[in-house]
Every structure is written in C-alpha cells, then in structure tokens.
C-alpha cells in the first residue's frame, strides 16, 4: 500500500464523510441492513486477511472464533447479566486463547491440510455446542432478551446505532492492518506468505509470528460474533459456527485482493451488492442463487485475476505511473 498523497487523502476524507452520514441519506431500513452486512463482512474479511492474506495461511475455520465470541458474550449476558460491551471483549479474549491450541494443531500443517484442519476445528466446536444442551441451550439456541432501548446492553430501537458500531469496528480493524502493514511484523508476514522455509532460513521466528497474527485475527473475528448476535437477537450453534461465515471471510478477501488493506472491503462491496441485487430481482424464493454467483465470481477471479480487484487496480495504477513519469 503506497502512502497517501493529496488526492488519496481527499478520497479517503470524502468516503469517511459519506460513510458517517450514509444512514441519514437513505431512509429505508432494508438499505441500512445491507450496509451493516457489508461493513460486518468487510470487518470479518479484514480480520481474516491478516492471517490468510498477508501470511497466506488459508483458513476456512474462522467461524470458530465468530461463534466463540457470540457464545461468550451471550452466556455472560444471560447467565450473569454482564453487558455485551464487556462480553464482546471477553469473547475476543476467549477466541484469542482458543487460537493457541487450534494454531498449535493447524500450523503443523501446510497448504490444503491446514485448510482442512481449520474446517474441522470449527465443525468440532459447532458439534460440541450442539451436543451440550445444559451448557448453552443445545441445538434450539436462545433468543436474546429484548430490553428495548438499552445502549449499555448494546440494544437499540433502530438499526442506525448498529451501523455506527460496526463502522467503528471496521475502522479499528483497518487501522490495525495499516499499522501492521508498515511494521516489522507486516514484512515478516509477507515473507512467510511468500515462502515459509525461506523466511525461517533468514531468521524469521515463523511459529511465533503465525501464533501472534492468529491471535489478533481471532480476537477481531470474535468481536464480529458478539455484534452479530446482538444485532439479530438470536444465537444457536448453526448460525454462530456457520461454515458460510468462514467461506465469506476468505471469499471477500480473495475477490477484493488478498494481502491488501482495502481488498476485503472492496470484495465485500462487490459480493454483497451482487447478492442484494439478486435478491431484489429474484426474491428469496430460490435457494442457492447467492452462493452460485459467489462461486462463479471466485472461479473467475482465481482463473483470470488471482491478485483480486486490488491487485488489478495496483497493476493499472502502476502502469499509468510508468507511462507518465511526470505524474509520479
């Protein structure tokens, strides 16, 4: 990511202003719901991208942390009356701790086997929550008691506050990513992503770096889990540990541009817009349409633009710089 100059700052400032007033520009709560989904999956994708994008550890098990975050805050809220704001951080910490044994197990493996192992860990967690009904309501799940307008319990009467919460989360994740990108850690991650053995050979402590970035990534993903549960007022193992969360986290990053700051955001905007348009054309009647389109987009990106949309933009932008040196 090149440092921003005049125009870059202007665009970023403009986008920020638009994002801040967006919920007041559109009146329909359907639209606000779509914006919230876009921001939420941008956030999850950004969290995934730290591990999957920069270090190229292609996890398909981030639902594990999403679910742990969701369950931690919900259990704290319902059993102990603790606010989800605290529960959210607690969920993040639980996910961070869980990432240690999961990482210990999965990081022994490479390539497709790392991916399969991460799928298995998320599925095992889902099956455990399905099985132990006394502990966390089993398969039926539970609804979050609706307190009406209770900002301290992360409950609001309109969707607009949720919009700002998830916008805030996304900003935090992007700032963390931007910070890491420019730090020593960022270069280590890219080195690991390029060639793990070579990175190890030149003295990068690969296991430690992977462990650290997995902790950051899982912490952030867990925050999304808490947010989502508070937003839909419901939790069960199938939604909390939904494989689609793992898929979408990876998908938006790959389509947008793996290992780039804005890739997951751009990917989510494209995919969620497509899916919203499809829904308004076809309605919700036909199952599978959305993921069919996602799969086609994913295949097209892999076969023709493996670096994603951001990779393409950087390529074009770079070419323009070269052909017109005065501008550079």
């Amino acid at each position: 990511m090149p440092r921003l100059h005049g125009w870059g700052w202007l665009v970023l400032g403009g986008v920020t202003v638009v994002m801040l007033i967006l919920p007041y520009l559109v009146k329909s709560s359907f639209a606000v719901d779509i914006f919230i989904r876009v921001l939420l999956f941008s956030f999850i994708g950004t969290a995934w991208n730290l591990l999957g994008g920069y270090a190229k550890q292609l996890s398909l098990g981030h639902a594990a942390f999403f679910g742990l975050g969701a369950y931690t805050s919900t259990l704290l809220q319902i059993d102990f009356g603790i606010s989800p704001w605290i529960g959210m951080v607690a969920g993040g910490l639980v996910a961070m701790l869980a990432s240690l044994p999961i990482g210990w197990l999965c990081f022994r493996l490479r390539g497709p086997y790392f991916t399969i192992a991460t799928i298995a860990t998320a599925q095992v967690l889902m099956l455990i929550f399905l099985k132990f009904r006394d502990f966390a309501w089993g398969a039926e799940g539970t609804t979050i008691p609706n307190l009406g307008h209770a900002p301290l319990m992360m409950q609001f009467e309109t969707k607009i506050p949720y919009y700002y919460i998830v916008l805030g989360l996304l900003c935090v994740a992007l700032m963390i990513t931007a910070g890491i990108e420019r730090s020593r850690l960022g270069y280590y991650l890219v080195a690991i992503g390029e060639d793990e053995d070579a990175a190890e050979a030149i003295g990068v402590d690969v296991p430690r770096i992977k462990r650290n970035i997995y902790m950051v990534s899982s912490f952030l993903t867990a925050l999304a889990g808490t947010f989502y549960t508070q937003y839909i007022y419901f939790i069960d193992p199938q939604t909390a540990f939904n494989f689609n969360v793992s898929i979408e986290a990876a998908l938006v990053s790959i389509v947008g541009g793996i290992g780039t700051l804005w890739g997951p955001v751009i990917g989510t905007v494209l995919l969620e817009t497509t899916s919203a348009l499809l829904q308004s054309w076809l309605g919700n009647s036909i199952g599978g349409v959305q993921l069919t389109i996602y799969a086609l987009i994913l295949m097209a990106v892999i076969l023709w633009r493996p670096t994603g949309i951001m990779g393409y933009l950087i390529e074009v932008y770079g070419r323009r710089l070269r052909s017109n040196p005065a501008e550079a």
Partner: protein, 289 residues
C-alpha cells in the same frame, strides 16, 4: 454386548466401502495431480442424482446405472482437468485450494437451485431385504454396495500395477518431473487420474442410491470422511486410503452405537484432529513442497 459390537462393526464396515471409493478418488488426484479435490463429494451427489433419474424415469436399477454414472463422471473429470485444474497447476496454494473449493460451492448450489433441497429416494426390491446370520443383520443393498466397492477398488489396484497407463500414473505421482523425462505425457495422465477418481465418486453415488437419500448437501458427509481417511492412510496411497476408510466407517458406527446417534461426525473430526496432532511430522513432511 458382543453382538452389539459385532453388529456395529459390520454396519461400519459396509458403509466404509463407500467411504473407500470416495477417499481413493481423493488420494488418487492428490497423488498424481497434487491437488486436493474439495469437490469430490459433489461428484458423489451427481452420481446419486444420475441413478435417481435413471431409476425414476426409465426404471433402471441404481446398481446397473453404474454403467452410466461412471462413464459420465469420467468424462466430467477429463473436462474439469482440461479446462480448470490444468490452469492452476504449478501456481501457489491459493488458486489450487480455492479452485476446487469454488467448484464444490458451485455444483452444490446449482443442485440446490435446480433440484431443490428435497430428499430423493429410490426403492428397489432389495432395499428392505437383509441376511440374518446368527443374531446379526446384514442389509442386502449395503452388502451389494460394499462388495462392488471392493471389486472396483481391486480393479483400480490391478490397473495401477499392471497396465502401462497405470504405471505411468504411479510414476507421475512419485516424481512428476522425472516421469515427464521418461516420456510420460502429464496432461494425459492427469486427465485419466481425474476421470478415474470422478468415476469412482460416481460409482459411490450409484451404489448408495438404493439405501441412502440423495440431496444436494449429501456429498459433504462423504468428502469429510474421505479427507480423514486420506490423511490417516498417508496421502496418495490407495491401499492406505482403503484400509483407513474401512476403519473410519467402523469408528463412526461404534461412535453412533455407544456415544449417541448425533455423535458420528464428532468422532470422525476428533479422529482427524488427533491424527494431525499425533502424526504431524509424517504429514507435514508429505505436504512440504
């Protein structure tokens, strides 16, 4: 007690034959082409629907529809190798993993769209029949499926060890570059590997149809089993995958018998994770490039 265990072992062994067909396909593709086919389960699903439609439209017995599902899926395999997988060979992990993953998503959701999520079953004259040996109960449909699965696996083994093409495939799986230097055409070998692997998945589908419902997500059950079996049996090893699949079937069945009906999968996943934890050096070694 003994009888319960024996019955559970038999049930596991019978379904393990089907797992074997799926996991042999996965291990064959991995061994030869060095790609993990996440979509293998979806081809089992396609095999099941082929048999389902042949049975309901033309009254053809699902077992006989092997002769349709296997060639059709062989052809599909060759096409997929030629137009998709060939393009990501030699690239890094990302395209290799997510290409077959996207293929799996695509087929699964197309099936949901076109065929709906309804369960489809085919009832044959032998669907409800069973052999009774002592106190043990052996369903005929599962028995036929198991026997044919073993016959197909055996045929593949003979093919790999006696024919030139089979030897070329084994050579390519041992060392692709050297095999190429020896005059083996990798494109052809890869296409046959994909074709054979998918034909086995199609066979698994047809064999399942008399006693198992077809639905779009059905492949997921089998592909997970296959991954575990393939890891347990060391990657790329056909006999290993076969033995591991039978053991997996038994482990799952014992899990269902003694821990609870919904715990079959958890046993399988825990097996996978323990294998990964206990045998990391062998596995990681196998996965270094």
């Amino acid at each position: 007690m003994f009888e319960t265990i024996a019955q559970a072992v038999i049930n596991g062994l019978l379904i393990g034959g089907i797992y074997a067909l799926v996991s042999i396909g996965v291990t064959l593709i991995f061994g030869v082409v060095k790609i993990v086919n996440f979509a293998q389960g979806e081809f089992v699903m396609i095999g099941m629907y082929i048999s389902f439609f042949l049975a309901t439209q033309f009254g053809i017995d699902p077992i006989l529809s092997l002769f349709v599902s296997m060639p059709v899926l062989f052809f599909v395999g060759v096409v997929i190798q030629h137009f998709l997988i060939r393009r990501v060979l030699g690239l890094n992990d990302l395209p290799q993993i997510f290409l077959t993953f996207a293929l799996s998503l695509l087929i699964l959701n197309l099936a949901l769209m076109l065929l709906t999520a309804n369960y489809r079953t085919v009832h044959t004259w032998y669907s409800d029949e069973a052999f009774h040996i002592g106190g043990l109960y052996i369903p005929v449909a599962k028995f036929i499926a198991f026997v044919l699965a073993m016959v197909l696996s055996g045929t593949l083994w003979v093919f790999l060890h006696t024919t030139d093409l089979g030897k070329a495939m084994r050579a390519a799986s041992q060392n692709r570059d050297v095999a190429q230097l020896m005059g083996i055409n990798p494109d052809r070998v890869f296409a046959v590997a994909l074709g054979v692997a998918l034909a086995l998945a199609g066979a698994a589908g047809s064999l399942l149809m008399p006693f198992y419902p077809a639905y779009p997500l059905v492949g997921q059950v089998f592909v997970l089993m296959a991954f575990v079996a393939v890891v347990l049996g060391t990657l790329g090893n056909v006999i290993g995958a076969l033995v591991a699949s039978l053991l997996m079937g038994i482990a799952e069945s014992l899990g269902i018998q003694f821990i609870g009906a919904d715990s079959g999968l958890i046993v399988v996943f825990l097996l996978l994770l323990t294998t990964l934890a206990v045998r990391p050096s062998g596995l990681a070694g196998g996965w270094r490039r």
